[in-house]
């Protein structure tokens, strides 16, 4: 089973699969990542570096929590909300998780409609994704407000137990929230490009001379799914531990 390479010279070269394919790709001329636009390969490499940043945060959180001698505040109780007169554990974080997963679903569909050149559907789905992302950031702002004002949690200490809880919480969720916010801004920019037809007419962007194309939507999608991916790990190790 061979895949022909995407080459603009009009020739199709057979590519080998499996391990011989890995060796052939990496030892080949010009580019190692075949059948992938350069921007997508670069986004993957950026995401790899971001993976290392978030992993460093989460691993240092683990180290700090395992070595804390004071009791760690119980996230299940700290993040509980009282709804309809009943205290439900961790409910805010669960809703935030579902919101972010839904935004990932709409993003994946936006990429699909983008490659079909369905401008209207791509635009709508990108805006829904951005709206869900903004909802997530809003809920996070609510959570921070509640923790700072009502619970008295500070980066240097808190009344519930180990002082490290506050510093780790604000650093990790703050960094993640920043990623979501930047993603929302870029989602809106890409959505405007789509509905104006910039990608259909290959107009260059404001920071680049390169021509617009629908691969941009997929590259945007990679970033957005990564933000969701990081939340999966934060949800599991920070809130459920």
């Amino acid at each position: 089973m061979t895949q022909p390479a995407l080459v603009s010279t009009g020739q199709t070269l057979p590519l080998s699969e499996g391990m011989p394919g890995v060796v052939a790709d990496w030892s080949s001329d010009q580019r190692a990542f075949k059948n992938v636009p350069w921007g997508k390969a670069m986004m993957w490499i950026f995401l790899l570096s971001d993976t290392f940043i978030f992993s460093s945060f989460l691993i240092s959180y683990m180290t700090v929590r395992m070595s804390a001698t004071e009791p760690w505040p119980n996230p299940s109780e700290v993040f509980a909300l009282t709804l309809f007169g009943k205290s439900i554990p961790l409910i805010l974080i669960a809703i935030m998780t579902f919101v972010l997963i839904s935004s990932s679903g709409t993003m994946a569909m936006a990429v699909k409609f983008g490659y079909e050149k369905n401008r209207k559907m791509t635009f709508i789905l990108l805006l829904i994704t951005a709206a869900l992302g903004a909802t997530f950031v809003g809920m996070q702002a609510f959570e921070w407000t509640k923790l700072i004002l009502d619970e008295g949690i500070r980066p240097w200490g808190n009344p519930l137990g180990a002082a490290q809880f506050g510093s780790v919480f604000f650093m990790i969720t703050g960094f993640h929230g920043t990623h979501v916010s930047i993603g929302v801004i870029f989602l809106i920019i890409v959505a405007i490009k789509v509905i104006r037809g910039d990608l259909d007419h290959q107009r260059p962007g404001f920071m680049t001379g390169r021509k617009g194309n629908y691969e941009m939507v997929e590259i945007m999608g990679l970033y957005w799914h990564f933000v969701d991916l990081v939340w999966v790990f934060i949800f599991a190790v920070f809130y459920l531990w």
Binding site: G10, F33, S55, T63, M66, S67, I101, S104, G105, L240
Partner: protein
Amino acid sequence: MAHAEVQQHDAHGQRHAHVEGQQHPIGIYLKIWGLLFILSGMSYAVDYFHFQGYLRWFLIIVFMLLKAGLIVAVFMHMMWERLALMYAILVPTLLLMVLLGIGALEADYTFFTRGVFFVKGLL
């Protein structure tokens, strides 16, 4: 610019001719979306029903890895990429397990020394 047609398999193993990019039927995204909802609900249930100990850890990590795998494989299209790209991204990520191990060892040691030198009544 004339792109050569690329033959790729979709989720059902059918051959589709593409002009460019990753195109897959919408059904697979909806299914994965549903699965992610179920898995998230189950991880929340672990906390809601107060599972403790090794069972809690096992369930949390299994659901976490399943969710991460589904997002990377399907939403980020990794399962349809060539092996050269997969290895370039996934192998360095797996090396982080070494840092995880070092962190755990260091944390145990710090906890031990804190217990010896700082906890009142021990010395």
